[in-house]
């Protein structure tokens, strides 16, 4: 078995992994990226649509262009990137961390790492997760799989399409399939409001006259060998209106029903997982419950913009660097999700530092205030013209904000 050692090993070579590795390298550490695919870039490589990079590069780029910007830095800095390399295990061995991985070229390697950065991204929820009944014909795919098939493999999974869920990938795929010459008959959303960005509703559905059925549920998939149609049932006051159900004929069902952080490696390593995010529990340094193991990007929580992923990954890289240099926060203060907030991340603040928090609202509302409270007292309040669950919020919490907070203070973020 091959042996190696790096200051830091980054698991995953997508946007998060590359950004974290660049930051660690910039700070003088030896870094290796382990990537299971044949290329760096992760899911960005199949996101050929534009809209990436407005914050990070002040330009509107396609996914592959965004990835290329990061990859160019990875290459020019001479960061080791091992492709076609699947991580098998993360272990604590002899006071250090060991990452076991396998590739066709090298066999199994054991790589010792001062710090490990988890950047494995997320996966799509599928038919089983949302329990759509019916037959099991060919023609039911997650939107991301369809995106891969169309954009990179160059194949069209089906001609008459119904999209389940109004998440952004589904909306983007509605336009993509239409532009590829297919007919998208409908987008079906269980919630009373769309899950994706308004911009995508306008440019991916309205431009093509694709109907969006809000408060509707796909209650049956029909077809023996290949999908022949779906049954759609309206929801009124929380109840399925079976007598108002209707059928849409189609040969393909694409599912865009949410993303789940891909934490199987973390779980196997015994790292604590936060049930609200499905990502690891992290401290103010984005460090998980396993010392020296950090998390960033969609493996930590699902982000709406890759620009935020990169920003977070850079912070994780910086934190790992400081940790390697021996820095430990003296006392951390817990911060929790208050009214109308689903989660706050990270869940701990360092009162000696400036902290950036990300949070996801539970509500759709105009004109509200995002508040930081210490022991019930509002210490910071930011006006928000509009909030909705599909758009992540962020707040910087300074040393001054926490001046009155003690170790046992209740610090929370709420929307009022």
């Amino acid at each position: 078995m091959r042996q190696a050692r790096y200051d830091a090993v980054v698991i995953g070579g997508g946007a998060a992994g590359m950004a974290a590795a660049i930051e660690l390298n910039r700070r003088g550490h030896s870094v290796a990226i382990l990537e299971r695919e044949e290329t760096l870039g992760g899911i960005l490589m199949q996101c050929i649509h534009n809209g990436f990079g407005l914050i990070e590069f002040n330009e509107e780029l396609s996914g592959p262009e965004f990835a290329q910007r990061l990859e160019t830095q990875v290459r020019s800095r001479g960061i080791s990137a091992f492709l076609c390399t699947t991580v098998l295990d993360i272990r604590e061995e002899g006071g250090t961390r060991a990452v076991y991985c396998v590739s066709p070229a090298e066999g199994v390697s054991r790589i010792e790492a001062g710090a490990v950065l988890l950047a494995m991204g997320c996966r799509e929820r599928n038919r089983g997760n949302i329990r759509i009944p019916g037959t099991r014909p060919a023609g039911v795919y997650t939107a991301g799989l369809a995106q891969r098939l169309v954009n990179i493999e160059g194949y069209i999974p089906g001609k008459d399409v119904v999209i389940v869920g109004s998440g952004d990938i589904g909306l983007i795929m509605a336009r993509r399939m239409t532009w590829a010459g297919c007919k998208v008959h409908a987008v079906i959303e269980i919630l009373p409001y769309p899950s994706g960005l308004t911009r995508n509703i306008v440019q991916c559905l309205e431009d093509f006259g694709i109907p969006l059925y809000l408060s509707h549920l796909v209650t049956d998939i029909v077809g023996e060998d290949r999908v022949e149609g779906v049954e759609v049932t309206p929801i009124e006051q929380g109840a399925l209106m079976h007598d108002k159900a209707f059928r849409i004929l189609c040969d393909t069902v694409l599912l865009s029903v949410g993303l789940v952080p891909e934490n199987e490696l973390s779980r196997a390593a015994g790292i604590d997982i936060n049930p609200a995010t499905n990502g690891p529990v992290v401290d103010s340094m984005l460090m998980t419950s396993m010392p020296g193991v950090f998390a960033c990007g969609n493996v930590l929580h699902v982000h709406d913009l890759v620009d935020y992923v990169v920003e977070e990954a850079r912070r994780a890289g910086a934190a790992a660097s400081e940790w390697l240099a021996g820095y430990r926060p003296e006392a951390e203060i817990r911060v929790k999700a208050g009214a109308n907030i689903r989660y706050v991340l990270p869940g701990r603040l360092n009162p000696a530092r400036e902290n950036r928090l990300y949070m996801r609202p539970l509500i759709v509302r105009n004109d509200c205030r995002l508040e930081l409270k210490v022991d019930g007292k509002v210490v910071r309040s930011i006006r928000k013209a509009h909030v909705q669950p599909s758009e992540m919020l962020s707040m910087v919490v300074t040393q001054a904000d926490l001046a009155q907070a003690g170790r046992d203070s209740v610090v929370e973020i709420a929307l009022a």
Partner: protein, 475 residues
């Protein structure tokens, strides 16, 4: 025209066991399957259990075959390299009056000669399975019961049969049969013909139409549907033994099954199917499964569900119908094989062999018969050192195609070379696409490997043959 001593119609678990049993003798045997791969009918969608031998009375044929079959699995496991484990079975009672039924099962098990069967108190039940609902009042423990991967079992049986000379013909759907002297001439829907001296009807759901085609007894298979939920291997609700409720008149109830590959299966329901293609799952039945399963293991969560599916039992009468036909010459009926059909299947193979002998088939043992199949190493079973050695021998073991179930490219290629050229065939052989992402990440890779290995075009790739095409066009 190809001529065979025996033609077996239907390559499910019965047909496969019969074929392998006959491959021990100097015979020309054909195994005919209407689907594109073997084990795509009832044999792929069932509970995957080696039963405990206490559910049925020994006076029935099915109980006798079950008891005999159950004993044969250890050797088969050794020879055929399919996942199998005797994890034990518990029947859990939640009311005092159910304990009378438990006692009946216990006495029946004792009469049937089941080894190690025991009546359990509440404490004993909770000791054997701490995840049980603490409201349990007692139950039954059958330590010899077990779990296996049913399709892998069939694949291995067929591979072994093929290795020993059996001809397997897929997409061979029997359309008609006629007598020509001492021969049966069998015509397929696509026009292919072959001749056989003896025919075994192990066509499962379609045994009634096959019987009619040969002028055999008239009967009707009434499919009964069983729906299932599959839970991710990360579920905290995985028991260490198969958990049964107290059975009713019509069924053994909804079980909680720790599958041999680490996931958890809940089911089956039991409801009449609309027809023999009715594999649809329904909201009501699936809710019923979750509810019933939770009464036994309360920690079961719908968040752990990764897929649902339905299988059809080939129901006919109360007992198995395995006999020489009185209407059609040289024709053996193997019909109505419901639970415990999988457990009984090795014994069914032996029983049918004896029936054929009785009907005049000459059985001369084959000296060259090799009971073993080639063992395919699995990346998922290897520790880092073993995997390293595998990759050094064959680099494709280092390319993990299915991340959820840790399946390497080498295993996918072996599945394809063993004749599994559909996405479902590859799934059942390797488990790729069977995990938590259900093929979201690996489907395109498998398509690529399939095209590379077979030269198939994109529009020839199917989920399970027929019109189940995956890709409808290219850019």
């Amino acid at each position: 025209m190809e001529r065979y001593d025996v033609a077996i119609v239907g390559a499910g678990v019965c047909g496969a066991n019969i074929a392998r049993r006959l491959s021990q003798y100097e015979l020309d045997t054909a195994l005919l399957e209407k689907e594109i791969d073997v084990s795509l009918g009832t044999s792929k969608a069932n509970s995957g259990i080696v039963h405990g031998g206490f559910h049925d009375n020994i006076r029935t044929l099915k109980a006798r075959l079950e008891l005999r079959g159950a004993l044969m699995f250890d050797r088969l496991h050794e020879e055929l390299d399919f996942p199998f484990e005797r994890c034990g079975i518990l029947v859990a009672a939640f009311h005092e009056d159910e304990m009378r039924a438990i006692e009946q099962l216990y006495l029946q098990g004792v009469e049937n000669g089941v080894i190690g069967i025991e009546m359990c108190s509440r404490e004993r039940m909770l000791e054997l399975e701490p995840k049980l609902n603490p409201d349990v009042v007692g139950g039954l423990h059958a330590p010899s019961g077990g779990i296996l991967e049913p399709y892998r079992f069939v694949f291995s049986l067929v591979e072994s049969a093929r290795k020993n000379g059996v001809q397997v013909k897929t997409e061979f759907e029997v359309a008609a049969a006629r007598r020509d002297g001492d021969w049966w001439i069998i015509t397929a829907t696509d026009g292919r013909e072959l001749a056989a001296r003896y025919v075994v009807n192990s066509a499962g759901l379609h045994a009634d139409t096959v019987s009619a085609a040969f002028g055999g007894e008239r009967f009707t298979i009434r499919p009964r549907k069983g729906e299932y939920y599959l839970l991710d291997r990360t579920t905290k609700a995985k028991p260490s033994k198969v958990i049964f409720p107290v059975p009713t008149e019509v069924s053994k109830g909804i079980l909680v099954i720790p599958t041999v590959e680490g996931t958890v299966l809940l089911g089956p329901t039991a409801s009449p199917a609309r027809d023999k293609q009715d594999f649809a799952t329904t909201r009501d039945q699936l809710e019923h499964i979750l509810h019933s399963a939770r009464t036994m293991i309360p920690s079961i969560s719908e968040n752990d569900v990764i897929t649902s599916f339905a299988g059809l039992r080939a129901a006919y009468g109360d007992d198995f119908y395995i006999a020489l036909s009185r209407e059609a010459p040289a024709f053996v009926q193997v019909a109505g094989i419901q639970s415990p059909g999988l457990t009984a299947s090795p014994a069914i193979g032996e029983y049918v062999k004896d029936l054929l002998k009785e009907a005049g088939l000459k059985l001369i043992e084959k000296r060259t018969w090799d009971p073993y199949v080639h063992k395919v190493p699995r990346a998922r079973d290897a520790d880092p050192y073993q995997l390293d050695a595998l990759v050094r021998e064959e680099a494709a073991y280092g390319d993990i195609v299915c991340r959820c179930e840790r399946v390497s490219e080498a295993e996918i290629v072996k599945a394809i070379r063993a004749g599994h050229t559909t996405l479902d065939g590859i799934k059942y052989y390797t488990r790729a696409q069977m995990g938590r992402c259900q093929g979201g990440f690996c489907t395109y890779k498998i398509i690529r490997i399939l095209m590379r290995e077979t030269g198939m075009r994109y529009d020839e790739i199917t989920k399970r043959g027929g019109k189940s095409r995956i890709l409808e066009g290219e850019l």
